[in-house]
């Protein structure tokens, strides 16, 4: 009886403590599952631009020459730096992006990137940014296992682990095993 109360209390309190962590890792897990389809960290936009640069002397191109050029291409954008990554290509860095211009045609692409709200923050945490965060997330991972185990024994009776719980727990075990049999061990 005491053991069941301890189990229930542990499950309840760990659930409270790690509520936020579960949401954080749940959201970033979904984001990273679909990393091939989108960039969860930044909203990246590309826009075609063109400018007449035939009058500029590219060999002596300085910050003072590039800023008016930038104002012409993308008014309001703040200049950071510029360089030539290869012959015929000028790259201008702006506050949240860059512009690459073909110096022969004056055609280019303006790329801007803005942090994606919520996902940027949760992914930052998911990528284990600091040692102490790794320790904390290890504690969370261990607690998740404990939450799962204690969760099995919260209820008694027909909805507990000897009744409905047994069926649902078995289903949750069978799905990953089936996947492993199909794709990892190639049994079928």
């Amino acid at each position: 009886m005491k053991l069941r109360k301890l189990n229930r209390d542990l499950h309840r309190d760990l659930g409270y403590i790690f509520f936020a962590m579960t949401v954080i890792y749940g959201l970033s897990g979904i984001a990273l599952n679909h990393i091939d389809d989108w960039n969860p960290n930044y909203v990246i936009r590309n826009k075609e631009v063109s400018v007449n640069i035939s009058t500029l002397n590219l060999k002596t191109l300085s910050r003072e020459n590039v800023i008016p050029l930038l104002n012409e291409i993308a008014p309001g954008e703040k200049y950071k730096n510029h360089y030539f990554p290869e012959e015929g290509i000028l790259k201008i860095f702006i506050k949240d992006g860059n512009i690459q211009i073909d110096t022969r045609t004056g055609q280019g692409i303006l790329e801007t990137s803005k942090r994606r709200p919520i996902f940027h923050q949760v992914n930052y945490l998911h990528y284990n940014p600091k040692k102490w965060w790794t320790i904390f997330s290890d504690i969370f991972a261990g607690s998740l296992i404990l939450l799962a185990v204690t969760g099995l024994f919260v209820l008694k009776g027909k909805n507990g682990i000897t009744g409905r719980g047994a069926w649902l727990t078995s289903l949750g075990i069978i799905i990953p095993i089936l996947f492993l049999l199909l794709y990892y061990w190639n049994v079928f």
């Binding site: 990393i35 091939d36 960039n39 969860p40 960290n41 930044y42 990246i44 950071k80 730096n81 360089y83 030539f84 990554p85 290869e86 790259k91 860095f93 702006i94 506050k95 949240d96 992006g97 860059n98 990137s113 992914n123 930052y124 990528y127 284990n128 940014p129 600091k130 040692k131 790794t134």
Partner: protein, 195 residues
Amino acid sequence: MIKKVLGTLTIVALIYSCGTKQEKAENTIEKIKIEDLMANIDNYIDTDIAIGGIVNHVCAHGGKRLFLVSENSDVTIKVIPTEAFGVFNKELEGSSVYVYGIVKELRIDDAYINDLEKEMSEGVESEATHDGNHSGEEETTGIDSSQVQKIAEMRQEVAASGKGYISQYWIECNKIEAIEETGTEVVEKAVEAEK
């Protein structure tokens, strides 16, 4: 009372000496431009160094890689953060910086390429093929045509090297200092990792 005072002073002295030692260590680190590093990189392997250049690209998916370029040539080097540093901030792109860290070398020979090919076909991403183009970040399963091409190019380079291997270099970064030019004065400010 005297014991307490002496104890406090000892602790203060220890903290102060630790701080100054770290400061001294940072001051002795050689600062060079990326083009000078790349011209003599074999002399700097496993050496603590500060490399000056422009941040050309920070990988947007996780901030775990940064590419530093020279201002006046097309020299590039990959920078990877140490665990203690964390991840790079994408807003660093375009900034003139000093990257503090250790120069590392990976020697790629035929055996390495064979292993790499096997790992790629199993969907394992490799640092050796990550060059700042996003193909390495996006493909996670199977081997695609661009990876096949990269493998073939690596084999050709190894064969052409005459020494049986090619080297890839990167910096393990523990600190970044932004270089801010204010008129004629150059100011260096430590940059924090991504927040």
